[in-house]
Subunit: 615 residues, 2 copies
């Protein structure tokens, strides 16, 4: 976290994030949780991500072709083509915003009825006198609205001095009916909370002002548990095989959460001691590891967790550095691997309230799937693995500068787009989908996933593609996406037969889950009114390509909507509105689930789902 960072503020939202030098404005919008149009996925080709620079230094290249003279004069640029090289303020015009993201706007930005769990109240109490010998605490309790308040003894111990330091004017911090703080004088203006989305691969924290509901900062980091295994099963395995394994993984995630909290507080210029609550959503394994609950039996047949409902604990007990008396609360799980992140997606997308039939899909290292409406909801969690995050792919990488994230094959040849538009280094998730989709169209990859080479290639495959298919001594049949003389590494960047198989496993797992949800609910593709794509990766997918590879069902494109980081949005919502906690408990209890690992049909459906759709 020590690298040079710049603050970029988005208007009229007022949101700020800190990003490294060289980050594009487009990437920064993602970190700030603002979703803008980028049909080409930030490749600089669609020209839809126009923003206006209000102040600050930047490096821009390739915007002009998409801009009018007037736009150039008022410092409009393409967000994806503009790198940040100082603190900046950027205005995002309405026409560049992606208004399909109704959930984020309706659910979060248009504020909820603000009713945070943590409230602060300033009270000025009478000073003790011969006529008024009430105890210090009684005089505070009598000044509060309702009876029945509790106070932990360690807060109680500080009452006498706090009260007298502020001349008997004091700020009471209430978490529901518990007095979690007594502060000298009027400090009611400082009341913050942090919502965390603890992903298997990425952890995101959102700092919120609990008095206004306003989001003050966003910060994200790679989950440091990744070095213990890139999927949930390998992490659980680590806790089983190593005596201190659970402690190790717990310490890592707590340290990460603390780093993010420091960053958030720095960004917003607030003190950590005024953060009174942390809400955390994540899959069942992440929740177990964060709360140091043994996940062992989650990985063993018949796959049961320690706890389903929400867990609440003092932050200090968990080692989370916020106010000494602050709390950390988890989103409830549903069952087995169907975790709090799914509950958060259901909450934020509001599909549990809707009449129309929705299919919500949050693709991370796991794929969380929910199908249904207000009458009945069914969820499952698929072990898609981190292929879409670039892992397990021979030339795979995370979605950052130099990643091939767009592939276009037409009669003129193979066109490649990289994030940042520089020389290619590797292949990220969207690039993987594109490459497979384009090679399927071209006939280089068959419906059953074979990457054809030499004589096996159909006769209509043009020569410029044939020459790109090689028989790699190690990887076997491979397609040269970027020749070595055009790559940054100097090596060929390949899509290998194994990569296609990984992709089949990943998309097959998700699609099989979808099939089982459908058959359980007794509906068909055409009954589905909307497909909601959540999560960072989901929001960069090109919908036609996702349908082409069979990651998504064949539906009219407009039915597929992007809803941003819905899990994070859910965590923010429960931080701001305490009555939603009961809502999440109800969602947790009422959502049915399919445990794929023990579903008798899963293996067959999974095998079928690994096929690519016929052309």
């Amino acid at each position: 976290m020590s690298e040079k960072k710049y603050r970029i503020t988005f208007e009229p939202d007022g949101k700020s994030v800190f990003v490294r030098a060289g980050t594009t404005i487009y990437e920064a919008t993602g970190e700030a949780g603002i979703i803008i149009k980028a049909e080409c996925g930030g490749a600089g080709v669609c020209g839809s991500c126009k923003v206006r620079v209000v102040s600050g230094e930047y490096e821009e290249s390739g915007s002009e072709a998409h801009l009018t003279k007037e736009e150039i004069e008022n410092k409009t640029v393409l967000a994806c083509r503009t790198k940040i090289s100082s603190d900046m303020t950027v205005e995002i015009p309405l026409q560049s915003r992606l208004f399909e993201q109704k959930i984020l706007t309706e659910g979060i930005e248009k504020p909820l009825k603000l009713s945070p769990n943590v409230r602060k109240q300033y009270v000025k109490v009478g000073e003790p006198s011969l006529e008024d010998q009430r105890s210090d605490l009684d005089r505070i309790l009598d000044a509060l609205e309702n009876d029945g308040k509790r106070i932990p003894v360690d807060v109680l111990r500080r009452v006498p001095e706090k009260l007298r330091k502020g001349d008997f004017g004091t700020t009471v911090v209430l978490n529901r009916d518990e007095i979690i703080g007594i502060e000298t004088g009027d400090k009611t203006d400082r009341n913050y909370g942090v919502a965390f989305d603890i992903g298997t691969t990425t952890v995101v924290g959102y700092l919120l002002d609990l008095n206004t509901g306003k989001q003050l900062a966003v910060s994200s980091m790679t989950n440091p548990q990744t070095s213990y295994g890139d999927d949930v099963i390998s992490r659980i395995q680590y806790t089983i095989e190593n005596r201190d394994g659970l402690d190790d993984l717990n310490e890592r995630i707590v340290a990460c959460v603390n780093d993010i909290i420091v960053d958030l507080a720095d960004q917003a210029g607030i003190e950590k001691k005024y953060i009174y609550e942390v809400t955390a959503t994540g899959n069942t394994t992440m929740t177990h590891l964060f709360f140091r609950l043994n996940p062992k039996y989650l990985a063993l047949h018949p796959y049961v967790g320690v706890v389903r409902d929400s867990v609440e604990v003092r932050a200090r007990e968990l080692g989370v550095s916020i106010n000494n008396y602050g709390k950390v609360v988890s989103m409830p799980n549903i069952a087995g691997f169907v975790g709090g992140d799914t509950v958060a997606v259901i909450l934020a997308s509001e599909i549990y309230k809707k009449k129309k039939l929705s299919f919500a899909l949050d693709i991370g290292t796991n794929g969380e799937l929910v199908l249904g409406n207000r009458n009945r909801l069914i969820a499952c969690s698929t072990a898609a693995g981190p292929a879409f995050e670039g892992a397990r792919i021979n030339y795979g990488m995370r979605a950052r500068d130099g990643a091939v994230e767009k592939v276009l094959i037409d009669e003129d040849g193979v066109e490649i787009g990289t994030i940042g538009n520089g020389l290619a280094i590797g292949l990220c998730g969207t690039g993987l989908i594109d490459a497979v989709a384009e090679l399927l169209k071209a006939g280089v990859i068959t419906a059953n996933g074979r990457l054809l080479k030499g004589e096996d290639l159909p006769p209509d495959v043009p020569e410029f593609l044939r020459t790109r298919v090689i028989d790699h001594e190690k990887y076997g049949a491979s397609f040269i996406l970027v020749p070595g003389n055009e790559s940054k590494t100097g090596d060929n960047i390949l899509l290998t037969q194994k990569d296609v198989r990984e992709m089949q496993l990943a998309k097959g797992a998700i699609f099989a889950g979808y099939q089982l949800l459908k058959s359980t609910l007794g509906v068909e593709d055409e009954d589905i009114d909307e497909i909601l794509l959540a999560g960072a990766f989901g929001n960069y997918i090109r919908r036609e390509q996702a349908m082409r590879v069979g990651l998504l069902p064949q539906v009219p494109k407009e039915k597929i909507k992007f809803i941003g980081n819905a899990a994070g949005a859910g965590a923010r919502m429960v931080l701001l509105a305490r009555e939603l906690r009961e809502e999440t408990s109800r969602i947790s209890e009422n959502t049915e689930y399919i445990e794929l690992a023990i579903n008798a049909d899963f293996q067959k459906v999974f095998a079928d789902s690994m096929f690519f759709p016929e052309g």
Copy 2:
């Protein structure tokens, strides 16, 4: 606690206590909370404390005169004349029991409706299967009677292993709606609690079986805070004047409580980890110091404490060594110095329910006074000081072997009784009262407290008394209670003018409190239906002598009743019956109080009360 101790078991009660070699059976009954007749206060003269030795070795002297031949044959002895020199079993016949102690018998021994706060329930839950994938916690919660149970995360963490170790049979420990323990297998038979009476000078712990209500052991120790000052004000002063003063005093009392818990567990042969709750009563200062609440403002005008109502905290947080998830809960205070011990006395004596007008008096280092009935109760706390515990008296000592505890002056001379009947070492509280009462009768002490000497002595004072009044070079006028050649120390044991003044202060403080309670309630001595004497000292007072010195008002002797350690009884009651906690809160709220330190009339009434009644 390492000295050689013997177990003495009382039948038919079944109570056991451990006592040092040489302790009398009479003293042991006190430690066991059994009250027997001892009109002479254990001096071996009244012959009322007859008990029968069932088994064990002992040293007896001086019983025979009071016993029939038959009694001697069946090993009947006087409890006060018999010292323990091995493990013993002793039967206390009905006729030796003091049945005026109605509170103890009615309130505690005839069990309350047993409803302890802590309950244990064994549940055998279904094992996880493909058909039953509930989380570990859900399967426990579903097996319990009611919904809405909470579980702290550190208990939750142990659920998976505990559950599987016991083949899914587990004992759930519930503190109201909180699950404070999950134990392997069926451990419902082990459920204990300890009630503490934390006195300024003496700390007593009672170990109770929460399943049966039975008292398993009693243990007491001198409050080690005594070395920081013998009254509450000097202890508070210590916390004000020393940076770590509060921590010092808190550590001392917690260590003492822990020593007593070890002793109780040893006596009863149980494991400390099955003690789940501690209730503690004490005066306001003792409660503040035990819970590490700053008592500073209690000692400063206008005398307010940190908290009035009951405080509850995890034992571990306080350093109290019971079950890791056990709790410590205090009796609520009333206000200022009128503390939880007063509430406990009110609860145990049931004067808040009675129609008749009662005056309850608990004499310790402070005197706690309550006057009233079910319509109106008024309490006050008087700083009597530790004179009755032998402190601040020139030749004073605690009530133990060698203490002069009885003084009789008649025409034949001065007769002295000591505890243990050996040579005198010093003077304890009852001896002090006796000495002053007898010298008042003889005219050696005047109604205003002057100890007369030489020519000032009235002419009718016999010669054998005149020669005992000396003009001590240091103490001035002094009465030789025991000449040096008859004392164990070889020195004269004196009652000095200063001792008489200390006694006047102590009894004056108590009597002044009583006067103010009476005038506030608008009643006279003759309106009072009963005087209830509580506390260890109270139970050894000779009633006529207490009236003679003006410690108690002049009432028919039979109105004065001994109620044993009512504060301790109150603490035991709330441990066994949780609904009594609300009762104590109501008592705390509804009892009026007089803060003597700020009462305009107190100084005058106090000055008047220091006089002794005219002969």
